[in-house]
C-alpha cells in the first residue's frame, strides 16, 4: 500500500475523485446534522448507551446489518472472491450463520437481563467486580482488534481514493467518530449506521444488477467468462486453500459462527430496542439483509474477475490489481457505472468505516465507563452525570488510541485482525454469555477460569500462528500450525468454566439459587430494563 502503488491508480480515477469527495462531504454534513439532533435527545446514561431503548426492531435490524456490512466484509469478501472464487463463500456464510445462533439462544434472554453491556448479563448473579473486569477487558481486546482492522482499511482506502496521506485519513476518521459518539451517543451512532447500511445495500444492489445486465442475467454465462479469464480457471469454482488445510477451515468456521454471539458492539445493540419481542424482530431483519448482501458480494466478486482483471486500466502489467485486491469492488463500480458510481461507492465505503468505527468506540466507551468505572471502581456509587462524563473521556481516549493503532499497524494484514477479534469473542465472551444464562451450575470461579483461559489462549495461539509468527515476526516455522485458534480455545474455555464451577464452595450455592430469579426474568421479562416511555 505504498504511494508508488497509489500513484498510477490516481491517474485512473482523477476525474472521479471530486464526485467521491462531494458525496462523502454530503454524507458527513448529513450525519453531523443527525448528531446535532441526537445530542439534544441524549441526556441520561440510558440515552447514551442504548438510545433510551427507543429504536424499533426494524431500525435496529438495519443498524446491526450495517455493523456487519463493514468495509472489511464489503471490500474484503469481494476481494477474496476476486482472488480465489469459491473460498470467499466460506467466509460470507460464516459471517451469516452466527445470527441464527444469536436468535435461538441469546437475543431474547440478553434483552431481558441486561441494560447496556454484555457484562451486565454475565455478572448478573456472579461476583460483580472480578467478572466485570474480565468481560470488559475481553470486550476491549475484541474491540481493539476490530478497530485496528477498520482503521487500517480506512487509511488505505482513503489514501487511494482521495489521494490523502495515510495519517490524515486516520485523523479524519478518528475525529469524526469522536464527534458522533461523544455528542450523539447511541442514537446518532445508530442513525449513521442505518443511513450508511441503506446506501451500501442500494449501491451493491445496483452494481450486481449492472454486472448481471452485461450477461443477459445469466449466472452460468458470468461464471463461464470468469473461468476463462481468471488465472486459476476452473480452480475458482471449487474449494482451494481451505481444502488443503481442513483444521484451519473448521477452526475458522467455529470462530465465525460463535464469535458473532460474543461481539460487544453487536450485543449492545439489543439494549436499544424496547423489549425481547423487538430484539427478535431486529435479528430477523439483520439476518435477511446480511444474507442478501453476501449474495451480492459474490456477484460483485465474479463481476470484478471478468470486468476489472481484464482491463489494463486497473491491473499492472504483472496482472496485479492496482492498490491491492481490496479495490476490486471499487474498480468494478467504475467499470459498470462510470465515474459517478465510482464516486458513490467510494463515499459509501468511507461512510461504512466511519459508522462501524463509531459503533465499536461506543461499545468500548461503555466497557470503560459503565463496567470498569461505574460498577467496578465506584462500585455503583457514582452518579449518572459522572458516568456520562467518564464515557465521553473514554470515547476521546479510544478515538486517539484508534488513530495511533491505525498508524502503527499500517502495514498489517487486516484479515488476521478481524479473524482474531472473532476468535477472542468466540473463546472468551461467547462461552460466558451462554453459560451464565443457561447453566445453573456456573460459578464465579468457573466464569473467571474459563473466560481468562479462552482469552489468553486465543490471543497467544494467534500470535504463534503462521499469520503473525511467520509473516509478521519473521520466524521460519509457526509454533501453532493453524490460522485460527477457535477450534481449540473455545472448547478449552467451556471446559475451564465447567472445571472451575465444579470446585465449589458455600458461596457458589447462593449463586445457583440466584439462577432461579435470573431464569424467570430471562424467560418472562419481568423486571427487565428499558420500560421507560420514549
Amino acid at each position: 500500500m505504498t504511494s508508488a502503488v497509489a500513484a498510477p491508480h490516481l491517474a485512473v480515477a482523477q476525474g472521479a475523485n471530486w464526485t467521491a469527495i462531494v458525496l462523502f462531504g454530503g454524507f458527513v454534513l448529513l450525519t453531523l446534522a443527525i448528531t446535532a439532533w441526537a445530542s439534544r435527545r441524549t441526556r441520561s446514561a440510558s440515552d447514551f448507551y442504548a438510545a433510551g431503548g427507543g429504536i424499533s426492531g426494524a431500525q435496529n435490524g438495519v443498524a446491526i446489518a450495517g455493523d456487519f456490512m463493514s468495509a472489511a466484509s464489503f471490500l474484503g469478501i469481494s476481494a477474496l472472491v476476486y482472488a480465489n472464487g469459491f473460498d470467499g463463500l466460506l467466509y460470507s456464510i460464516g459471517f451469516l450463520v452466527g445470527w441464527p445462533i444469536i436468535m435461538f439462544l441469546i437475543a431474547e434472554r440478553l434483552r431481558n437481563l441486561g441494560r447496556y453491556t454484555l457484562s451486565d448479563v454475565v455478572s448478573y448473579r456472579l461476583a460483580e467486580t472480578p467478572v466485570r473486569c474480565l468481560t470488559s477487558i475481553s470486550s476491549l481486546v475484541v474491540i481493539a482488534f476490530y478497530l485496528i482492522a477498520q482503521m487500517v482499511g480506512a487509511g488505505q482506502l482513503i489514501q487511494l481514493l482521495f489521494g490523502l496521506p495515510y495519517a490524515y485519513a486516520e485523523i479524519i476518521v478518528g475525529v469524526l467518530m469522536i464527534l458522533y459518539v461523544t455528542l450523539g451517543g447511541m442514537l446518532a451512532t445508530t442513525w449513521v449506521q442505518i443511513i450508511k447500511a441503506l446506501l451500501l445495500l442500494g449501491g451493491a444492489t445496483l452494481m450486481a444488477f449492472l454486472v448481471l445486465n452485461r450477461f443477459g442475467f445469466s449466472l452460468p454465462a458470468l461464471f463461464a467468462r470468469a473461468v476463462s479469464v481468471h488465472p486459476k480457471h476452473l480452480g475458482i469454482l471449487r474449494p482451494g486453500a481451505l481444502a488443503k488445510d481442513p483444521i484451519s477451515a473448521i477452526s475458522l468456521g467455529v470462530a465465525l459462527m460463535f464469535g458473532t454471539g460474543g461481539l460487544p458492539h453487536i450485543l449492545m445493540r439489543f439494549f436499544t430496542v424496547r423489549d425481547a419481542r423487538e430484539a427478535r424482530k431486529s435479528v430477523l431483519w439483520a439476518t435477511g439483509l446480511i444474507g442478501y448482501f453476501y449474495v451480492l458480494t459474490f456477484i460483485i466478486g465474479f463481476g470484478a474477475i471478468v470486468l476489472v482483471s481484464t482491463d489494463p486500466a486497473y491491473v499492472t502489467p504483472a496482472h496485479l490489481l492496482r492498490g491491492g485486491n481490496n479495490m476490486a469492488a471499487v474498480f468494478l463500480a467504475q467499470a459498470v457505472g462510470g465515474d459517478w458510481l465510482l464516486g458513490f461507492i467510494s463515499a459509501v465505503a468511507f461512510a461504512t468505516i466511519l459508522a462501524v468505527v463509531s459503533g465499536l468506540t461506543l461499545a468500548g466507551a461503555a466497557a470503560v465507563s459503565h463496567d470498569l468505572y461505574a460498577r467496578v471502581l465506584a462500585r455503583g456509587r457514582s452518579n449518572e452525570a459522572g458516568e456520562l462524563r467518564v464515557s465521553r473521556y473514554a470515547t476521546v481516549a479510544l478515538g486517539i488510541v484508534a488513530i495511533l493503532l491505525g498508524i502503527l499497524f499500517e502495514k498489517q494484514n487486516v484479515a488476521y485482525m478481524v479473524g482474531l477479534a472473532f476468535a477472542v469473542a468466540a473463546s472468551a465472551n461467547f462461552p460466558l454469555v451462554l453459560l451464565s444464562m443457561y447453566w445453573r451450575g456456573l460459578t464465579t470461579r468457573g466464569a473467571l477460569l474459563g473466560g481468562w483461559a479462552g482469552l489468553v489462549t486465543a490471543v497467544v495461539l494467534t500470535v504463534l500462528s503462521p499469520g503473525i509468527w511467520v509473516k509478521v515476526l519473521g520466524h521460519p516455522h509457526a509454533i501453532f500450525p493453524y490460522d485460527s485458534p477457535a477450534l481449540f480455545s473455545m472448547p478449552l474455555a467451556f471446559l475451564c468454566c465447567w472445571l472451575g464451577s465444579r470446585l465449589g464452595s458455600a458461596r457458589d450455592t447462593n449463586e445457583a439459587a440466584a439462577f432461579d430469579e435470573q431464569y424467570v426474568r430471562s424467560q418472562t421479562g419481568i423486571g427487565a430494563a428499558g420500560a421507560e416511555a420514549h
Binding site: I93, V97, L237, R238, I250, T524
Partner: protein
C-alpha cells in the same frame, strides 16, 4: 430483584414450565440444525472438495447452490423461530405474567398495551 416467593411460585407454575420447555426445545433444535447445516458444509469443503467441484448448471459447481442453500436456510430458520415466538410464546408469556406476578412492579413493556392501542392479540395481526 423479584420477590423470592414469586420466583419460586413461577418456577413451579405449569404454564411457566411449559413456556420454558417449548422455547428451549425449539431454540436448541433450530440451533442444532443450523450447526449441522453449516459444519456439514464446512466439512464438505475441508474433506470432500471434489464433491463440491461437480458442475451442475453450466460451469457452476455444486458448491455454489449448496452454499446458497445454507444462506437461505439461515434466514428461513430465523423466520420460523420468529413466527413461532410471535404466535405462541408472547401470548403464553403475557398470561403467565398477568396471573403469577401482578405485584412484580414492572410489567414488561411489550405486554402492557399503551392506552388507545388495540388489545395485544389484535396488534399482532
Amino acid at each position: 430483584m423479584m420477590d423470592p416467593s414469586a420466583v419460586a411460585a413461577l418456577r413451579r407454575d405449569p404454564d411457566f414450565i411449559a413456556l420454558a420447555r417449548a422455547r428451549s426445545r425449539i431454540g436448541w433444535t433450530l440451533a442444532g440444525l443450523m450447526v449441522v447445516l453449516y459444519f456439514g458444509f464446512v466439512f464438505l469443503v475441508a474433506l470432500a472438495p471434489a464433491v463440491l467441484a461437480t458442475p451442475v448448471w453450466g460451469v457452476i459447481t455444486l458448491g455454489f447452490p449448496l452454499g446458497l442453500l445454507v444462506i437461505v436456510a439461515a434466514v428461513a430458520l430465523t423466520a420460523i423461530y420468529v413466527s413461532v415466538a410471535n404466535a405462541r410464546f408472547d401470548r403464553m408469556q403475557r398470561d403467565i405474567v398477568k396471573r403469577c406476578a401482578p405485584g412484580a412492579g414492572v410489567a414488561p413493556p411489550d405486554l402492557s398495551p399503551a392506552p388507545g392501542l388495540a388489545p395485544y392479540g389484535e396488534r399482532l395481526a
